[in-house]
Symmetry: C2
Subunit: 911 residues, 2 copies
């Protein structure tokens, strides 16, 4: 009804924020729809009393009505624009189209979402020959005036009238040649005058129309051009691709021009409200006296640090500080701003949240809590988990990275950077590192338990094969070694001590390599690194806040006392997984373990098992002491036995060698000894062959070993409880939790629990000690999850082995898939996430839900944790929080990340 | 209350059935608890008017009260026993303890459940010196009388008074020596008299007590001995093991003795109411005139066929026929009976349901329906599924089996018997079978796709390795070849063409072997077999009744038209699984398939794929024609590619051979050719190595192949629809269902469905035909079951691949486990069933339930079937019925079994 009487309001001055807010009941989202993103920011800053160059916005409704009316302004729009111009004249004291005191404006598009393909900017609207001449006289800067005019004609001719920019550029090139100057900055007023004349001739001959010299005509055509650009092909295609609706329309922002190049009382610059590198609370930025914004960015002149402005223009500097504080308070975030000082008057041109380093993020979050700007919860949610990772590993220096090209890319399986000389052999890696004190990168086709000493000696690890949970990846993460695996472009030629990268590049052993475990990129040079500090007090503060917020606990996967100590330093409250098999791979133990496996009689086997007992006991003692007061989950032996034995081909080669040696022996003693050796190898080979499995992942492992080799698990439990009793006698608060792996049927658990508990009780009786303990199981097989209620009848805790659970639930062998079809799936978008990186919520997550709910339905205080690699992955930690697990357990280096991610999950949940 | 006034009733005469029934409201289960199993049978027969020797039962309550009262008869028990004896005297006209007309009785225990360790039997109670002498005179058979007396003393002395039987046996041995006779039957009256005297002396010296000569004393002590034996150690242990409660107590049965050896008007025999071999409805049995029951069983005298009794004693024969009819009508089952004729009077001593062959079972079930004795439902439930199996396979003759010992035992993976000469090589097996027409048993360490031609040529298959779902087992079941796999006792020595069985036995290639696929036993001889007839009209009747009853459909797993025809003959209504990979293993196709795999360019690969097209098309045409009117599910290529390639070690050997050959070549053409061959092998080896997977079961198979080798599945779908269109043009009713295997995520299905459906539509347009079709998926990965609702959005059918689903749900590799830890699990009772034989209801079954319910929640008409090996397993079929799947699919030879099992499930469900 009113629309008939009074035209709709299409135009708002920047200062009219109250009016718009009222229209939308203070809903900023609708506001953004009406005024566009850029418009809203300008209204917002204006309302804060920040000196923003005055202007007005033509609404998106104006655009839509214009397009709907076959490209005719709807009633009232132009009249309102004219009134708004009048208001600008009032505010600025200048006059649009008045040669004696000309008001110049810019015209920019501004849709709800920023969008490529939309018309960008036309500056200096409001000029013509007469005004330019006058401006030249008034400012006494003819070059300044004619350059402004030239820019208007060029932008208007290109953007509004559709002349290709190359045509204008050709004129500029010709003019530079004629004036014999290198750059546009060398052209004088006359040159610009001549250029502008040519530009106008080009427009005429190209379009058959004249460049409009009437400022209002310029304004009208520019506004229409912005409207029309909403339906331009690029914008349309972009909206289709990005799923943005086509009926939103764009707003038009008309804003007064200001200039920083009007003399020594003018300036222009960019600055941050805080230090973006370390977060210190002082202004940080650069500026130039008598210059345009472009000059600061382009680096053609040496900029001055913002602090110097305090001396050059103390009033304006003080104003900048106030503006920064006001904007920080308003946006509750560090700001990144642009300003111009026009003949002493400060104008803020732009503000946005500032980008910063991880270190700065953390400090700023803590400082802002202290300053009362944000809450603790906000501070914690603001710090991202990968920012914490930064504090744990050296990083390649960002500056240096800009100047080099990577030679290959693999999977980024263990974060941080490493730089060193290439060794292809773990023994060589160890020698170079230990004896020569050099930094080494171990490069292998893939790694095996045998290679661990070389991995430990190296600064970083690269493999050609293997996936995100390959041996190399697991061990590297465990020990915080940066690693890149599955680099299929690398082919190692061990004979020639070199590797081929791609088709042509050959790199020798001993050459330098830099690897980035965060990105998976590899560089064939020695790049500089920077080492952050985990003891950063701000980080410690953030993490302790996170600890207060989070609902789930964080433990660490640690196999050795040193690991456990580190885990504790990083904030782990217990060990969620100690993999006892890693202890058996140690050099002094492997031969005994092999005896256990190849023993031909029961007593021979038991004898070997009993030799492992004291070793295991001392392992566990170390862990218990390191984790005094916290629970320690010890997983009984898990991997298939053949992992402890040499491979069949290796053994066959050994046998061949021995037989050849026989031909050259010349004393009977040697013959006897060699015959004995042959016999030994033959026995070993027979056992290796017998243990071969087509699918070892689904084979005789975990509890299946415990049941088929009765003495083994008993020995481990004896060692655990002997260690516990000894520690307890020294006053250590010991809390062992015995974990039986790979259970798929409750009877497996029941039969083992009976035997093992009897052994535990026997040991405690011998030591006359009473140790609080739990016996529980891994849930890593779908059937275990599906029958959790039955298993929980006798299991006191569950620990989800999400790596294996993912393998069986998905039917994917991680060893094969991550260098196979899974890569293609992820590339093609068939899968959004690698299920070995983040827990698959629909499959694995559902099984975890079933197990958690049904396990607890039988045993209310069932302790439930996650000890797969996922335990350190933020996405997975969110899922775990939702499922209500008691804790996650991850490698020591992921513990801080897990603490923070768990807090994020709790915060998200409470929203 | 009444118990104080009137003693409890502890004793019931056989005729007092009404009284007991009333006490328990006709509940026979309670009756059995009170009178014991044996007692109930005697009461039952008596109530039918069958001439059972009269007697009475002391109840289990009597036993319990006796034991509770510290081995004292409760009030009334003995008085009631005495009254019952009086009743027996009345009925028989004899008198207990009266030398002139002595009544003799037996005393037997009879608990609710039959139980070893309980006191068995004391015969001839009621004799002493005087009565024996009198009986000798009365019957004019002194030897008869003294033998009876001797037996009483011996049994009483042993069972009641606790003298070890060996002592009595020693006396008998001595007496035989003294009398110079071979057997006890040679001893005369005087000898027995002397023996009895010695027995009584032994009792006296052994126990310090006299053999009680008072008949009532004998009865009382015998009753107490039965009571006490309830708490004997053996009975107690047995109850513990069998889970029988200890407070049930045992009843005591006192029954009049009758004698078949009192002259030519006496006889004794056993007979069945129908022929136990073929089920024909006529009496079948043996008897002897003037003999004891033992004589008939012992075979010391030649027995007469029961039919001859019609001539010898026509009246009694007629009576026997009437009794058989009456008992069959009462028990609604064929009866196995014992009788005695004492001086013309017929007594029935025992009746029970008769054991019979599968053939007899089937015929009797059908006949009894015709006779109105049982319902169709009863007939169907009475025939067991493994009895149907009997009609499908030759069997080793039962008689012959009694005389031989097996040499080894393996897994009974494919039923039926096979007899033939051993071949260790599939080529040799084929040659001997085809060229020489001999029956061959193929014996292999394990089988591979390459060996199938030898398996098909052989009568039966034996392997040393592999489990219930090994290649050998699967193929053997598929083709109905009897097979025994995983015979670990056999070691094949290919070089010497012999095999070692156990430690010592060596068997040569070409020697005879008989194998029993029903039991897994192997015999080193040529055993006779018998071939049953699947066209047995009674079987056909039973199965057609089963078809009317069952609620779920039965399809067959068939890969070839010939298979499909057989499946149809056996009653399959469609194909539930056609494994297209089997087609690629055929000799003419394998090289092309290998080209597909090793192709170095896309066009090379596509060329090879297109060569497979016409072959596949003709395969499918055959199937569609054979299954005219029924659905045919075709599974697209499933196995990992390396299965189509030779093994790496084989290739390396080939390469070595070729290199050696190079040294002896003397013309350049040969050199060139050999070099080319080497290059080919080398390429193949590289591809084989690249395709190696640590866990192929979880590797690049199924839909993962379809996605990574785009053209392959399209070609198969093209072949399917071209075949379908051609058949349809000939008037065949074609219903193809395209099955995408190994889906674990809905996007895998969606992306394939889109491509394949487009291809199908294109073909149908080309042929201008409209074929009704479905596109669906295997559910064989836990995640697929857990996300069934998402998959069912675009899948039109589910088929549970329960083999793989069991592997992944349990985390068990069947190839390894069935010859590994799973065997121990089953032996130790950790698992009750092999989950690869019967679907695990708690794990796999639960996933099936989730998938079925949630799949149908999205798509009501979702077709759901089972195509794993479990589809032919009765237990699994019961589960499938409960889950409400639409059909099961199994190998053609299991189809009749599945039809019956499905009916059983429906019957059980309706109960």
């Amino acid at each position: 009804m009113t629309s008939k009487e009074k035209p709709q309001k299409y135009v708002y001055l920047f200062g009219e924020i109250e009016e718009v807010l009222e229209r939308y009941d203070g809903d900023w989202e609708s506001l953004r729809g009406l005024l566009g993103g850029k418009g809203v920011n300008l209204f917002d800053a204006t309302s804060l009393g920040i000196p923003v160059p005055p202007g007005f916005t033509v609404t998106t409704e104006g655009c839509n009505d214009y397009l709907a009316a076959d490209q005719n302004f709807p009633m009232g729009l132009w009249d309102q624009s004219l009134s708004a111009v009048k208001e600008l004249e009032k505010i600025t004291g200048k006059s649009f189209g008045d040669p004696n005191n000309p008001l110049l404006v810019s015209c920019r598009s501004g849709a709800k979402f920023s969008m490529p393909g939309m018309m960008d900017t036309i500056l200096n609207i409001g000029m013509n020959d007469e005004i330019t001449e006058s401006l030249a006289k008034l400012t006494k800067r003819p070059r300044f005036a004619y350059d402004l005019y030239r820019r208007l004609v060029q932008m208007f001719g290109g953007v509004v009238m559709g002349v290709p920019d190359e045509v204008f550029e050709a004129v500029l090139t010709a003019q530079r040649r004629e004036s014999q100057v290198e750059a546009d900055s060398g052209l004088d007023a006359d040159a610009w005058k001549a250029v502008t004349k040519r530009f106008r001739e080009i427009i005429r001959s190209y379009t058959g129309r004249e460049f409009p010299t009437d400022p209002y005509e310029q304004l009208q055509q520019a506004t229409e051009a912005v409207f029309r650009s909403w339906n331009g092909k690029r914008a349309f295609d972009y909206r289709n691709a990005a799923g943005i609706e086509h009926d939103l329309g764009t707003a038009v922002n008309i804003q007064t021009m200001v200039f920083g190049n009007l003399g020594d009382d003018s300036a222009t610059g960019v600055f941050m409200s805080r230090n973006a590198t370390n977060g210190a609370p002082s202004l940080e930025g650069d500026y130039l006296i008598n210059a345009q914004g472009e000059d600061v960015v382009a680096g053609t002149r040496a900029t001055l640090p913002i602090r110097q402005l305090a001396r050059d223009m103390p009033k304006q500097y003080e104003e900048l500080q106030q503006i920064a504080r006001r904007l920080e308070k308003h946006h509750r975030n560090m700001q990144d701003m642009e300003f111009t000082i026009e003949q002493g008057k400060l104008w803020l041109l732009q503000t946005r949240d500032g980008k910063r380093t991880a270190q700065a993020e953390v400090r700023i979050a803590v400082d802002m809590v202290d300053e009362g700007l944000i809450t603790i919860a906000e501070a914690v949610s603001r710090v991202k988990t990968d920012q914490v990772d930064f504090f744990l590993h050296p990083q390649l220096q960002a500056e240096a990275l800009k100047k080099v090209q990577p030679i290959a890319k693999g999977l980024n399986v263990s974060p941080g950077a490493a730089v060193g000389i290439i060794a292809f052999d773990p023994g060589l890696a160890e020698r170079w590192a230990k004896e020569d004190g050099r930094n080494v990168i171990l490069v292998r086709p893939e790694t095996k338990p045998d290679d661990v000493h070389g991995m430990l000696a190296a600064k970083g690890v690269v493999t050609c094969k293997g996936g995100r949970t390959s041996h190399a990846a697991l061990v590297a993460r465990q020990f915080g070694k940066p690693a890149v695996v599955g680099v299929s472009d690398i082919e190692i030629d061990l004979d020639n001590h070199e590797m081929l990268v791609g088709e042509n590049m050959v790199i020798k052993e001993g050459d330098y390599l830099s690897i980035d475990g965060n990105t998976g990129l590899i560089y064939s040079t020695k790049l500089p690194t920077q080492v952050p500090d985990f003891n950063d007090p701000y980080l410690i503060k953030i993490l302790s806040w996170a600890d207060d917020i989070r609902k789930i606990g964080v433990r660490a996967n640690s196999d050795y006392p040193k690991d456990a100590q580190r885990a504790r330093q990083y904030g782990a409250k217990g060990i969620g997984l100690c993999r006892t098999e890693h202890m058996f791979f140690q050099e002094d133990r492997l031969p005994i373990m092999q005896k256990v496996i190849v023993a031909s009689t029961l007593s021979e086997r038991n004898e070997a098992i009993s030799r492992l007992l004291p070793m295991q006991r001392s392992d566990f003692e170390g862990l218990f002491r390191a984790m005094d007061g916290y629970p320690v989950i010890i997983r009984l032996l898990d991997p298939p036995l053949h992992e402890f034995l040499p491979s069949a081909p290796d053994l066959m080669m050994d046998l061949t060698d021995l037989k050849l040696r026989m031909q050259h022996l010349n004393n009977l003693k040697d013959v006897d000894r060699t015959l004995e050796e042959i016999e030994e190898k033959r026995t070993l080979l027979a056992r290796v062959t017998a243990l071969e499995e087509s699918n070892p992942m689904l084979g005789t492992r975990g509890v299946r070993l415990g049941i088929t080799i009765p003495g083994l698990y008993s020995m481990q439990v004896q060692a655990i409880f002997e260690a516990a009793c000894r520690c307890a006698a020294d006053g250590v608060d010991v809390r062992p939790e015995v974990m039986i792996p790979l259970v798929s049927h409750e009877s497996e658990f029941n039969v083992m629990r009976k035997t093992l508990e009897a052994k535990a009780i026997q040991v405690m009786e011998e030591y006359d000690a009473k140790i609080p303990y739990l016996i529980g199981t891994m849930i890593e097989i779908p059937r275990a999850a599906l029958t959790a209620a039955k298993i929980a009848e006798s299991a006191e805790f569950f620990s989800f082995g999400t790596n294996d659970l993912t393998q069986t639930t998905y039917g994917i062998s991680r060893d094969d898939a991550e260098s196979g079809f899974l890569v293609q799936y992820l590339q093609d978008g068939l899968l959004k996430d690698n299920p070995f990186a983040s827990i698959d919520p629909d499959g694995v997550g559902r099984l975890m839900k079933i197990a958690t709910e049904e396990g607890r339905s039988v045993r209310k205080d069932l302790e439930i944790g996650v000890c797969g690699e996922h335990g350190g992955d933020p996405k997975s930690i969110h899922l775990c929080h939702k499922l209500g697990v008691d804790y996650v357990s991850c490698s020591p280096f992921r513990v801080p990340i897990a603490r923070l991610a768990a807090a994020h999950a709790a915060l998200e949940d409470s929203e």
